[in-house]
Symmetry: C3
Subunit: 344 residues, 3 copies
């Protein structure tokens, strides 16, 4: 799958400015401390400058030339972005042959777009549509009246329940579940009565959802994941949740029903949100935090702890927690002192 | 899929008493602030009274008439239950055609009940039985000697390992796993020796299990989920756990091996229980809590925190956590004061 | 599936020394309080001595004879290990017939070893190899150029992405995902740009991975799980993580990208590790803990809390947390006393 090109050609294709000779041929990408001749590496931050000086890489993607390094530099304003483009050039994503496997089960009313791939053991329900160029890997299940956009990659064993809508260029990793029933039950004296979950799920363009994550359908209405939002593995999104654009949610986080999460929010791993909250645009939630109430960016942009508090407050608090036994002893001493003084 | 009926007919079918004209035709359900003419909505609690007064819904399911609202009222002692019944009327669950797909793989010794559906790419093992009216959606795997009751809905990609028993009217969401091996290993000087997990799993009637949840089989004996218990997505239930009836477990909670969880227990999202605990009937465990010991309802009905403490104690404690730095400063001041006074 | 043998024969086959008559025939294993005549049970620790005395089991696997018990003893230096061997004898794991199902989809270039089983609806990609005696249960998806060793058990719906390597005698439980993309994106002014994840995953010999766990492929290079490591259900392992040998990770734990976890580490349920950490050999991490920094065994072998602190410190701290309101009151009293004394 690897390609080869000169450094000059690479620079041109990733829109980088070249500093140094451009005629060496490169064939791949490697980490800074492993890259050898014919390979390109990447300097994200100042801390790798020392590594750059001893690197044997032929080319280095960087924000600026690092004096003392022998490699040719490929200078980019956003080197991480340029690096991503370079990886894509050397490792274009695999595309299976287009067409419908004779081992798939496609309802006759389903519409499959031009150049789409429907692999073995894929099941597609009545009235579903699959956009042009979209790849359904083996074992994907697409429910009735599902609409999937163009140029998506739907990895094996993904399940999309009836009536769900998926945008263009969406990536769904293996085992992800879209449109399972929200968790809603009416208590009765003889047990719980299920509230039928008759809403749906809408996934925006350019969304990526991680392996074995679950996105519940709305009770009524819609659960929505906004354009460009990226969700990691094993994340739970409850019914009627609305998530904005370009939000990032790390692994094992959980968002309870009816939350409204803004744009460009960052949610740490294993974080948990109670139901019906509003989280302002741009807020960052620390790993493992627990959010019981809505959060305003004007109060704090970064939040941590269970329950959450502004991150700076949390940092000061947790450094003191291990000293709590000492504090109790100090207060006991003070009480004894006060008592003995009172006795004087 | 939507049906239509008069308000009078709807009231009769959900056992509600009608207050106002009953001849308007309604065709669906919507949230209180979105419902329009020809739709029905629902008032659960007093806080929606204002919304009720401006709602354009033709009918409102409620516990009592709300003065000032223009809609016809459908009065029910348990309005949430009546609402669930109304949703069911307007959105009866989809039933695929009964019968066995010629793209399924059913062992000749397996017994499939009348009216059951076995979809494409379903695999059913030797000696398994599937009850009447049960639906196996595409890609379900049913192991050897599994017994599944009547009128179940088993969503795509659910895996039921050998020898597991599932009751009647059970709902298993996509990707749920029943009967995977419990986590048991004997340490040896050269590594871990697997303890074969040779028990099984029993799922009671009317249980619902969420997407991608995992229920381990017992080491010996049985892991049991009692009648009517509802489990959300991505929940882990360890080997030999016994859960009572009508218990509710929110998403991403984890219950370690050999726990005994009572009836009508409520477990919050991302909560975790250590192994071998007993949790009394009716106990409520807060989201993200960590339970290291057995809990008695006589000590507290509601528990929160890591490790858990009675919820009231926890509430008082967490409001003080952000003030811990201030407390350390106050104690330092007192010490200085005491010291200087001692010097006097 | 159960076998029968005399106690003497059982003792010989599990390398135990027999104390008492060896001619009784036993047919199975049961817990100490349920075992009856013809069954064998197991005493792990002293606390079950009382149960042993009233047990009706014909044989007891134990470290030493328990005076007062009527059963024949099977004495082993590592009774838990001997017990595991006995369970295996009575319940040898089920082996489906070897061969390739005509309902599987195997690429013509894939190589399937002698005695391997490829079940219905299994998909095997171009250039993949499956070792001798390995069982692929229904619905497993094996990507292109995947290498799977000998004598593995790959349970239903497991997904192995392209280029992943799996050792010998590996057990992968249902729904586990190996090689999904790591979570890496370059921020740009118009949203996130995906960093292609072009590394792979290597799973060592004798590893077991639980149901619905997810192991991400490396960005570049490799995500590696060392020989003999055991991972429970719903665990997340991020890209470029390196885990040593004989490490144990309980359910719902999460390990962020680029962590290096040592050998014989034990990670509790729902624990979480931030990215790029190093965890020394032999360290134990408590359930639900949060690890923000690398941990040295020389500082503490056991860690708990969010963020983690040495376990002993944490234990002392958490017993005081519920007394925090009282401490605030005590300090207020002291301040009043000091103030009033100052007024004297």
């Amino acid at each position: 799958m690897e390609n080869s090109m000169t450094l000059a050609e690479l620079a041109s294709r990733i829109s980088a400015r070249i500093e140094g000779p451009g005629d060496a041929v490169v064939t791949g990408i490697a980490p800074i401390d492993e890259a050898g001749e014919g390979q390109v590496s990447f300097i994200a931050q100042g801390k790798y400058n020392a590594a750059a000086k001893v690197s044997k890489a032929s080319g280095l993607i960087s924000k600026a030339v690092i004096p003392g390094a022998s490699a040719t530099f490929l200078i980019a304003a956003n080197p991480y972005y340029a690096y991503a483009c370079a990886v894509e050039l050397f490792h274009p994503p695999f595309r299976p042959h287009p067409g419908i496997s004779d081992k798939a089960d496609v309802h006759p009313t389903a519409v499959i777009g031009a150049g789409a791939t429907v692999s073995a053991f894929v099941s597609i329900g009545e009235g579903a549509t699959v956009g042009a160029g979209t790849i359904l890997f083996p074992g994907v299940v697409v429910g009735r009246n599902v609409r999937i956009g163009a140029d998506c990659r739907i990895y094996p064993k993904t399940v999309i329940y009836d009536d769900v809508t998926v945008g263009d260029r969406v990536i769904l990793h293996a085992g992800s579940i879209l449109g399972s029933d929200g968790f809603g039950f009416a208590p009765t004296p003889t047990g719980y009565k299920k509230i039928p979950q008759v809403g749906t799920v809408e996934i925006g363009d350019d969304v990526e959802i991680g392996a074995n994550s679950t996105i519940d359908r709305a009770a009524l209405g819609v659960t929505r994941i906004g354009r460009g939002t990226k969700i990691d593995n094993l994340v739970q999104v409850g019914h009627n949740v609305i998530i904005g654009t370009d939000t990032v949610i790390a692994a094992q986080a959980g968002i309870s029903g009816s939350c409204k999460v803004g744009n460009r929010v960052m949610i740490g791993g294993q974080a948990g949100l109670a139901g019906h909250l509003e989280i302002d645009d741009g807020i960052m939630l620390g790993a493992k935090c627990g959010v019981p109430d809505s959060l305003k960016a004007s109060t704090s942009k970064v939040w941590s702890g269970i329950p959450v508090m502004p991150h700076g407050t949390w940092l000061r608090m947790v450094t003191l927690l291990p000293k709590l036994p000492e504090l109790f002893r100090r207060v006991s001493h003070l009480e004894k002192d006060t008592l003995s003084k009172g006795d004087e």
